[in-house]
């Protein structure tokens, strides 16, 4: 999955909140932000610095752009080769596999070849031949990876499969940051992983939650949802600025159409990050089923204006948006 124009997807109005110190840091080709409510600004800053150092460390482990990262070593592995991974990458792969299964393969980290087939170097859609698509599909799917049950390693079954944690790594890093902030007793905080994923570590005293806004990415003035995030995470995925999401489930599927953006609420940022991508391509019924099957999960879908569904442009929501005060 490619880098998203993430700052378009979820808005946070926390800047107006008194006592919430704001810190930011560039990493993983985006900007991480922290809002921390604490009396001691220097202490909050030191905690934020430790959190950002953790994100940088994870980037070295998981970036496919670094030749010696765990992911690059997986991507360079020959058929049948077992790769020793760091504990973090290992854990992230396990979660990615879980999300692949839960979403019926709509969320898939093995999509590197597929994206290379459908998009040119400038990330514009190209028209691949049927043979190219077939070849890319032969290199796509989590069945090409065998994650060890006991050791911290994974076996690549097919040479050339290209893994990309872009759709889950930020959520994963957000969870690690939350863990660290809890160790620092800085629970009254909010983690923004490029604002495509927002994770509530805890709500500051006297607040009903962190105020969130969901906007139409094509019409920034149109805010169609406001709610307070009290726990868990919210993630957004979208096709704004001409970006493309490729459905990995079948050779016939190709680029996703019909939806402009999808949001997901989940108990943790990993599930939220991964499911928001899946919600861009799952059917209405599948999304509804997913939300029923997974506690604490909800979805909002913004159909594409002028798409085949244009007669049905209303924002759709699934699951319980508890206290969300959803306005469409």
């Amino acid at each position: 999955m490619r880098k998203r124009q993430s700052d378009q997807v979820v808005d946070i109005a926390a800047k107006t909140i008194a006592d919430a110190h704001h810190f930011s840091h560039e990493a993983m080709a985006t900007v991480y932000e922290l809002y921390i409510a604490d009396e001691d600004e220097d202490y909050a800053r030191a905690g934020a610095q430790a959190a950002f150092a953790e994100v940088d460390r994870l980037e070295l482990e998981m970036s496919r752009f670094l030749s010696n990262s765990d992911i690059s070593r997986l991507n360079a592995a020959g058929a049948g080769e077992s790769v020793e991974l760091g504990m973090d990458t290992f854990e992230c792969l396990r979660r990615a596999e879980e999300m692949f299964e839960k979403t019926g393969g709509a969320f898939d980290i093995s999509v590197g070849a597929l994206y290379a087939c459908w998009l040119d170097e400038d990330r514009r859609l190209r028209e691949p031949s049927a043979k190219e698509i077939e070849q890319a599909h032969a290199l796509t799917g989590m069945d090409h990876l065998e994650i060890d049950e006991e050791d911290f390693c994974a076996k690549v079954l097919t040479e050339g499969v290209q893994f990309d944690l872009g759709g889950i790594g930020k959520g994963f890093a957000a969870e690690k940051v939350a863990e660290l902030l809890r160790e620092w007793s800085l629970e009254q905080s909010l983690v923004l992983a490029g604002a495509s994923s927002v994770l509530c570590v805890g709500v500051p005293e006297g607040m009903s939650g962190w105020p969130m806004k969901l906007r139409n990415p094509e019409k920034r003035t149109e805010v169609f949802a406001r709610f307070d995030l009290k726990e868990g995470a919210v993630s957004g995925s979208g096709r704004q600025k001409g970006q493309h999401i490729i459905d990995p489930r079948s050779s016939d599927a190709g680029p996703v159409e019909g939806r402009l953006a999808a949001w997901s609420i989940a108990p943790d940022a990993i599930a939220a990050d991964a499911s928001s991508t899946a919600f861009m391509m799952l059917s209405d019924e599948e999304i509804s089923d997913y939300c029923l099957a997974n506690e604490g999960t909800a979805a909002i879908i913004l159909p594409h204006v002028g798409s085949d569904n244009s007669s049905d442009q209303a924002v759709k929501s699934y699951g319980q948006w508890e206290g969300a005060g959803l306005r469409t």
Partner: protein, 452 residues
């Protein structure tokens, strides 16, 4: 230079002596080419954890087994690392936790080697104690904050007949080795190197003082016992005199080491430097430093500058070697490496090396533009030099090859890439920068200043 050759001979013979001892053990049935090596980590902070992770990624069949870890920060580093090691029980690792390194050395009877990643001012005591127990030592750079202590480390290793590897990990990085052996030495693409420059620029945000979670403080008595005034000084020891050496030592040391190494382990004849505590408050060591070295080499003098900043991250970190026919830019940072041919040098001169795949041509030179109607080329406009790349990637964690070199040297299968004698030379070059800044004058260096 004759003293260079002497030095090289000395180093290879001392490494051979180390290997010889391993072979002697082997004869007793205690060692062999694939012998398990039991190790402990003393100093489990950020750098200690980097070393540990690089070793864990060697996998369960590496034969390297962690037995124990030591750190005085019980509720921080020690707890974290001990937990990780215990999670690797199936790999044969064990994370028995110690606050007191002497207790670790007493109780852990089956150790072969120790990794030391404590603050610089502790390196000598820890290293020498390990040698006295008959253990091999991998010690992080800087060897020590004191040259006398660094010398003692080398002497103790010789006396014990054990190996001392210093953590200048670029010396084992395949990209660096490739550039030195293939690009500079064999193909000689730069021809005569006349100048070197290099830098490590770090942003202000990356240099703010480190904190620690509430409730994890080291008891005051323990801090005092180990030479720290308070918890903040423990976390930020690099900035304090008597404990660390500031950014020129933390960052510059790696790169100044490469200057010498790429020049065939040449040693500088002088250093001058400027620096100061110009920006950060409550820091004792210079927050920015600029140094100039003179390296006499067989081909002539090489003048080399180095700069480290803690307020601005412009252009990050790299080493730049400039010869009269070409330029090499190399950095440990992800894949950063460029080779340029001076535009007056004929392309055909480098073509054979492209055909042999020593380097790949990425972008041919762009000739200075001749405007229509002009009779001649404007000589003030220089042509864009041709860009070449080295066809080699770093595919394993940064510190892993250097650690493997250490372990394979213990097994008698390799020679140390950075033995204590080399580490000492680098320590002299780097610590003399701080001395030159304090003295406010150029410091002359003699070959014997680098000898242990």
């Amino acid at each position: 230079m004759s003293n260079q050759i002497d030095r090289r001979n000395f180093i290879s013979s001392s490494a051979a002596a180390g290997a010889g001892l391993v072979l002697a053990n082997s004869a007793l049935g205690q060692a062999g080419n694939k012998k398990d090596i039991n190790i402990a980590l003393i100093g489990a902070g950020t750098q200690g954890q980097v070393l540990m992770n690089a070793i864990l990624k060697l996998g369960r069949n590496s034969g390297i087994k962690f037995r124990a870890v030591c750190d005085i920060w019980e509720k921080g580093n020690l707890r974290r690392v001990s937990r990780i090691l215990n999670a690797y029980k199936r790999y044969g690792h064990k994370g028995t936790a110690y606050v007191d390194y002497q207790e670790l050395l007493e109780k852990e009877k089956d150790l072969d080697a120790v990794l030391i990643a404590t603050p610089d001012f502790w390196h000598a005591e820890h290293t020498i104690a390990c040698f006295e127990k008959g253990l091999h030592v991998y010690c992080e750079k800087e060897m020590s904050n004191s040259l006398e202590a660094a010398k003692d480390m080398v002497l103790a290793g010789r006396k014990a007949g054990k190996l001392l590897q210093i953590g200048h990990q670029r010396r084992s990085n395949p990209r660096y080795i490739y550039c030195k052996d293939k690009v500079l030495n064999e193909a000689n693409l730069l021809n005569r190197i006349t100048n070197i420059s290099g830098q490590w620029h770090r942003s202000r945000a990356a240099c703010v003082d480190l904190g620690w979670p509430k409730g994890t403080d080291i008891p005051a008595a323990t801090l005092k016992k180990y030479g720290f005034d308070d918890m903040s000084q423990f976390r930020n020891w690099r900035w304090y005199k008597g404990l660390g050496g500031g950014p020129i030592v933390d960052l510059g040391s790696h790169q100044i080491d490469v200057y010498s190494w790429f020049l065939g382990n040449a040693l500088p004849s002088s250093v001058m430097a400027s620096g100061g505590v110009d920006y950060w408050k409550d820091h004792e060591w210079y927050d920015n430093a600029i140094a100039i070295f003179e390296f006499p080499t067989e081909k002539g003098l090489v003048r080399a500058s180095y700069e480290t900043l803690t307020t601005n991250s412009s252009n990050g970190y790299y080493e730049l070697f400039m010869g009269d026919e070409g330029t090499l830019l190399i950095s440990e940072s992800a894949g950063r490496g460029e080779i340029y041919r001076e535009s007056w040098v004929e392309e055909t001169k480098w073509d054979p090396w492209v055909q042999k795949n020593y380097v790949t041509l990425e972008k041919a030179s762009i000739e200075a533009e001749v405007k229509e109607g002009d009779d001649e080329v404007d000589v003030r406009e220089s042509a864009t030099p041709a860009l070449y790349r080295m066809p080699i990637e770093m595919k394993v964690p940064y510190h892993q090859p250097h650690l493997v070199n250490f372990f394979e040297s213990i097994r008698g299968n390799a020679k140390l890439n950075c033995p204590g004698e080399i580490g000492y030379e680098t320590a002299v070059m780097v610590l003399k920068v701080n001395e030159a800044i304090a003295a406010g004058r150029k410091i002359e260096l003699k070959p014997e200043d680098f000898k242990v």
